[in-house]
Symmetry: C2
Subunit: 232 residues, 2 copies
């Protein structure tokens, strides 16, 4: 079938938890979902820092006064959410995910982590034993429904309250085809975004690694680049 946003399920009642929600990417996504009226839980190793981040996000322009956004420790957030976004630094990704296997059982897990290294020539893709961050997550979470998505979303754009619309496609890699509709619907809560199925988990490495190319593009063209799939 062609891409058709009108057939997406209603996800407005689902609670979105963000593990690593105090980092730039997690915080930016939390802001956009809170702004869209989604119930958002910010997770961190420190419940206090998570609560602080939730208060800061709730106060940002564009977030409804009655927005349901709060913070807690990662385990509690994983337990209380319907959809959990993993947005932690790559360093520590495996340990954090493994520790949440219990509360994440039966949950939808979206991994947006990009394993990159940096040297004086800029960013480059790291080699991951499992193939990619999301494949590592899938291996550690056999009871969860796992996909990669939101890998290419610019944190500065997400965080900028003057930006109303972020035009890009969220590429979704997963073995669970039914998941694509749910995650696509979540992506579509952010104006300008579409969720597009982009292959199996074994083809997620290049999606994560492509973030290095986006960083190169941003540097050369002074942009906050994302990608849009054409002919769709």
């Amino acid at each position: 079938m062609a891409y058709d946003a009108s057939t997406l399920p209603d996800v407005s009642g689902l609670t979105v938890g963000i593990i690593g929600g105090t980092g730039d990417q997690g915080r930016g996504l939390a802001y956009r979902f809170a702004r869209a009226g989604q119930r958002v839980l910010i997770g961190s190793r420190s419940a206090e820092r998570a609560e602080q981040a939730a208060r800061e996000i709730a106060a940002l322009d564009g977030v409804p006064a009655d927005a349901a956004i709060s913070g807690g420790d990662n385990t509690g957030v994983a337990h209380d959410s319907d959809i959990v976004i993993i947005a932690v630094p790559w360093d520590g990704h495996g340990a954090t995910v493994a520790a949440l296997a219990g509360p994440l059982t039966g949950k939808i897990v979206i991994d947006c982590v990009n394993p990159l290294g940096f040297d004086k020539q800029g960013p480059y893709a790291l080699t991951v034993a499992e193939g990619s961050a999301v494949q590592q997550a899938a291996a550690l979470l056999p009871g969860s429904r796992v996909c990669a998505a939101f890998n290419h979303v610019s944190a500065p754009l997400l965080a900028d309250p003057t930006v109303d619309r972020i035009d890009l496609d969220v590429l979704i890699c997963t073995e669970d085809r039914d998941l694509v509709e749910v995650v696509g619907a979540l992506a579509a809560r952010i104006p300008g975004m579409r969720g597009v199925y982009a292959g199996r988990l074994r083809n997620a490495h290049q999606i994560e690694a492509f973030t290095a190319n986006l960083i190169a593009i941003n540097k050369r063209y002074k942009a906050h680049a994302g990608i849009r799939v054409t002919d769709l």
Copy 2:
């Protein structure tokens, strides 16, 4: 600087040779460049097959009656061209490129080869000892100016004479920053295309591998997908 097509150099006088010009990708690119009025040389192991392909392309709708398109063996084409596009199958890529190192010295070489495997689950990225097809080419062609580009261009769209415009960005990976302008100008000869610098050669693997994702997208959405870089 921001992306600015108005500053691109004039490449209309350059001869474009296509090694593997009788394959789908090479033939499609040859058609588009001939249609744009570029001088095109089709290369093949067999000069006869190359000449035959050149005659067929010259007869397609949209190619000017006075189009300069002809065929020859790979070595002659490499020798007589200013810009040479490598569009051979991955199997045999190294041997073909190595054999052309002499005539390609001093030339601009564009590698558009994607090392992919296919099994019953579809396409997947192959591991390449040098990192990517273009890095293999760069290693074999120390006297050439090498980049990756045109990896994501749909062969059926290229070949379809009813398609006037192909809206996508050609991602260019290279160590040679000046090359970006020339290859960008060549991409811009095809209506709808922009050439965008997308990083160093060490970040070309994921560009090549991303073709597996585009194939997955095409299958799911019945599309001929490409990508457009946003905010540019």
